[in-house]
Amino acid sequence: MTIPTLLIRDLGLTFRTYTGSVDVLHGISLHINKGERVALVGESGSGKSVTARLVIGLLQNSRRTRVSGLLRFEGRDLGTLSAAERHALRGTRMSMIFQDPTSSLNPVYTIGAQFHEVLRRGAPEIGEKTAMERAAQLLAEVFINDPARVLASYPFQLSGGMNQRVMIAMALANEPSLLIADEPGTALDVTVQAQTLKLMREMVDRHGTSVLFISHNLGVVREFADRVYVIYKGRIVEHGGTADLFAAPRHPYTQALLRAVPRVTGGGIPDIEEATDCFFEPMIVHEGCGEPGDQA
């Protein structure tokens, strides 16, 4: 059994505010094997976005957060790494793509300049010309026909879909083992979003990248993921293979999610009824799933 790319065990997160402490994550566990596409699904405020940020290491810097639990990446315990080692992983071994591609790119620098920065993470000495050539190759891979024009452009000059491709290309530029996708394409319209996901599937298959896919959109998850974790108010409530989970959801919350009225635009967050006690029932794990090290 190979080492999982990502292993999370009992991850807890508390925010300290002026009015008191807020527990955001109550000890969640998940794992991703090499080449797997795993989705983390929940409403906004469920804790899925902070989980993504904890993995990439963006939240730990703040003085107001308290993190507990185990985060292991490619077998290495991230908690024991020095800040420099932790930092070295970002953009190289793991990378992230965000909701709105156009606003995630710096508006006053060209795409090419930003690509150069990204490539420099993998190869600090890389020169501009080499970087541009490599960037052009990467853009061609995501089916951008005129890489030179795109590289010379500013983000506001390109369409949302184009910027999304650019983001995907950037994220995979340094051949990371783990790609974290935080609600990708939510800001785009439905058709473009569908194309983007198709593209993402092809790319990660080709590169053998593991994916942690954060979403609230079940339809999208169904298309994309191998396994699904459902998260509710900072706890994992159900975990199973995509087909199983969608065919026979067993936890009340998952059922509620699936029943929720679908939005026409596909970008909306499902309407769940007010929280009921049954949403707090213990976690349900489907057959064949379960964390490494658990009893069967």
């Binding site: 995630s104 790119l105 508006p107």
Partner: protein, 341 residues
């Protein structure tokens, strides 16, 4: 490129209209005040005939609109009238005193940008730490006192108690430098006289700082608040997720987008220095246009007042225009949409 030219022309046109408005405003104010300018100029001992003669010459008995017409006609010929204070053409006075003020303002502007902006970046990067607090206090202090207070304090500290810098004037009187540009720092270099350059430099340091302190404070605070806003933007989070070094994020990634909203206000500040130079020039006996301006205002020297205010307002407008052009240049969104237009 041609759309940039069009932009400049359009702005120049608007500025011209505004300038005409300014001239009308000042003209009206100057002519409508109580008291007889001719009598004030000639003093209480002048005879009635002398006053009358001067009144004729200055067209003071004609309707206001006609007077304004005379004024415009003269202006078209480049004649701003004679100053009753120096008995010279106002244009000559301006030509003599303007470079001194411009030099002072230029140096102050440089100080403001070179010190103020980096302070703002540091303040934002080390937000909520002692660095941030210190810069904040210093900035607000800088803004809180009029330039003449700073001028006095700086003079006390660095000319008297710790005598490093000279007290007054532009350059030590030992030196005689040929007047090429009117900018002493340049002229001394052009004349190859390094000792004179040093003297000119040491004379300009304190006044420039006194004038710049308020602008430095403003620039630092503005930069800080813009950077703090920028730091919340998604593209900064993305940069961090890629592991870009924090220093690089501060000075390259976050700084440039923050600069754009600051530029307008910084430009206004530099232009406002034109007005504030009065105070510093008074304290340091700096022979500039502002000091001249104060003198002619106190003497109700109408021609000189109108001429000086007009020139200063024109420079104000030019400064604003330059700033707007700079913004259009730096902000790719504006630059490129102009091209597309």
């Amino acid at each position: 490129m041609q759309s940039v030219v069009r932009l400049i022309l359009k702005r120049l046109g608007i500025s011209l209209v505004v300038l005409v408005g300014v001239s009308m405003l000042i003209f009206a104010i100057a002519r409508v005040i109580p008291g007889d300018p001719a009598r004030i100029a000639l003093g209480p001992n002048a005879t009635v005939e002398q006053v009358e003669a001067l009144r004729q010459r200055l067209h003071l008995d004609e309707p206001l609109v006609i007077q304004y017409g005379h004024f415009l006609a003269d202006l078209a010929r480049g004649d701003l009238g004679i100053s009753l204070y120096t008995n010279r053409p106002v244009t000559a006075d301006i030509a003599q005193f303007l470079p001194a003020t411009l030099e002072l303002i230029f140096l102050s502007a440089v100080l403001m940008i070179v010190i103020g902006l980096p302070l703002g970046v540091l303040s934002a990067r080390y937000r909520d730490t002692w660095i941030d607090s210190t810069v904040r206090v210093v900035s607000i202090l800088g803004v809180s006192a009029p330039s003449f207070v700073w001028a006095v304090i700086l003079m006390l500290l660095f000319s008297y108690f710790i005598p490093i810098f000279p007290i007054a004037g532009r350059i030590s009187t030992n030196f005689v430098i040929p007047d090429v540009t009117g900018f002493l720092l340049l002229d001394t270099l052009l004349a190859g006289n390094l000792a004179a350059f040093g003297s000119a430099l040491s004379h300009i340091v304190l006044p420039a700082f006194a004038l710049a302190l308020s602008g430095i404070g403003q620039a630092a605070r503005l930069t800080r608040s813009n950077m703090v806003e920028t730091y919340d933007k998604p593209y900064i989070e993305m940069a961090r997720s890629y592991g870009f070094p924090e220093r690089r994020i501060a000075w390259r990634y976050a700084f440039r987008p923050s600069l754009i909203p600051s530029l307008t206000i910084i430009g206004l500040d530099v232009a406002a220095m034109l007005g504030n130079a009065f105070l510093v020039e008074a304290v340091f006996a700096w022979p500039g246009l502002s000091r001249y301006g104060v003198a002619v205002i106190l003497r109700k020297d109408l021609n000189a007042i109108v001429g000086t205010v007009l020139i200063i307002s024109a420079m104000f407008l030019i400064a604003n225009l330059i700033v707007d052009l700079l913004i259009a240049f730096i902000n790719p969104r504006i630059r490129l949409s102009q091209r597309a237009a």
